[in-house]
């Protein structure tokens, strides 16, 4: 997309879609992976499931669900960061009046 420097588009909209998607999904994937490793090194998913009252949950299920729960959390956080990084619309010029 060609834009002039005066373009009113917020800069994020000029990023390639792939970069916008990647900036949410990819860092969150990496941190979710790291969090999963650390968390399940300390806690055994089978024991956690027993404590929570869900016997019969396999370790593989625990790891998988744990990873995706972490990913959901971290992706939400990344998406919110991107959302709040967007420039706010410029404030409407205040109405100045000479009548007062």
């Amino acid at each position: 997309m060609e834009v002039t420097p005066q373009s009113p588009d917020p800069p994020d909209d000029r990023l390639p879609t792939i970069q916008r998607l990647a900036s949410v999904l990819w860092p969150s994937f990496l941190t979710a992976g790291a969090a999963t490793v650390v968390f399940f090194t300390l806690f055994d998913p089978v024991e956690l499931a027993l404590l929570a009252g869900y016997p019969g949950v396999s370790r593989q299920a625990g790891y998988t669900l744990g990873f995706f729960a972490f990913w959901l959390l971290t992706a939400t956080s990344c998406a919110l960061t991107c959302y709040f990084r967007r420039p706010c619309p410029p404030r409407a010029p205040q109405a100045h009046s000479d009548r007062f």
Binding site: E2, V3, I18, S23, T41
Partner: protein, 466 residues
Amino acid sequence: MSLPKPQTDAPPPEPVELYQKHVKIYPREVTGRFARLRTLTLGVLLGLYYGLAWLQWDGQQLLLFDLPARKFHVFGLTFWPQDFFYLAVILIIAALSLFFFTALAGRLWCGYACPQTVWTEIFLVMERWIEGNSRARLKLDQGPVSGRRLRLKTAKHALWLAFSLWTGFTFVGYFTPIRELSQQLIQFQLTPWEIFWILFYGFATYGNAGFLREQVCIYMCPYARFQSAMFDRDTMIISYDERRGDPRGARRRNAAKPAGLGDCIDCTLCVQACPTGIDIRDGLQYQCIGCAACIDVCDDVMAKMGYAPGLIRYTTENAIAGTATRLLRPRVIAYALLLSVLTGALIWGLWQRIPLEVDIMRDRSALYHRTDEGLVENVYHLKIINMSENDQIYDVSVEGIAGLQLLMNDPQVTVAHGSVADVPLRVRADPSELAAGSNSLTFHIRAIGDPKIRLDQPARFIGPAQ
């Protein structure tokens, strides 16, 4: 109505292209010494990935991060979640080696060893095999939809998908024993989670190596963004020798070099060969993954023109500028020192590692009992984890208070390798030897067959509070 145009010589403001739209890249086929080196590393690395999972050691998969059993088997050693420390040190060593090699040799990792590069390359090999070289592929993609195009695309994607699924299967095979996994696969007895991860990883391979390719390096790779922090003017990079090449210009072959022109004949083969679609002649760019394809094509052209090779070459910024390159510099020495200290510490730690873990839990249902003889008794549970490779017999003893009695079913506990034994036991003490309330004692757990495997574990003994 149109406004009269102001009469100025200034051109109208050019639209600024801030972000390039993604254009599919058809990297040109390259032959040459670096291409051969890349093919070699590609073969070795892919062979390691698909082969290592099948190798056994002592009846045990050589490399198995056995998640269902919470044990890592690495070249004959077994790691437990308690050994997380070693994993952390190994990861730090890996990161430091990356810094070290980047400072010395630039993006060797990206060009030759990164999984993204390796799998993109093998997917390109398959693509070439079915659809032909880059020009044929471009023609095919731009041409009309035809039966031939449909057939070729179907064949390519089928091959890619099969390869991706095999990749996903091998990946899961590093986390659940691959021989059992293949049995389950043949008998259609994979668990839903195994199927899910095979598909997930297979799909990631298909997408990353088949479609995203250089975009992963440019938009997703954190290393590509921060590697410049490890670079200095003595780091080995791939660079175009501007002083020799410029001014560029086309010329006839076998003719004398036209006056006023450098060695670059502006054939743009270096651009056509680049898998990330950059022009190396524009200088060092973070999109350059250091694959050296441009070196190979340029050397070919130089040979055809009768010029010396190396117009594009591995060099350093200092060398290009005509100053000496220093190999040993503070940054390199610091990385090397840190690396050797940590590696030494890891080897020492593994050498000293005692493959035994003991948890002592005091029975909390009662603080203490009184026996008929008037002794004070505490009940404990010993959890003995045999992390060694052999079955062990452990001798359990206790000391710390005079006249302690240890009551167990059998003072020698047999624990199979890789197993956990839960041992209930009772300790009795004469109340006259006890301080009021809490007392310290120490359990000694010794493997009978191996004097190196022993642990002293402190515990509390609770007596009457008078």
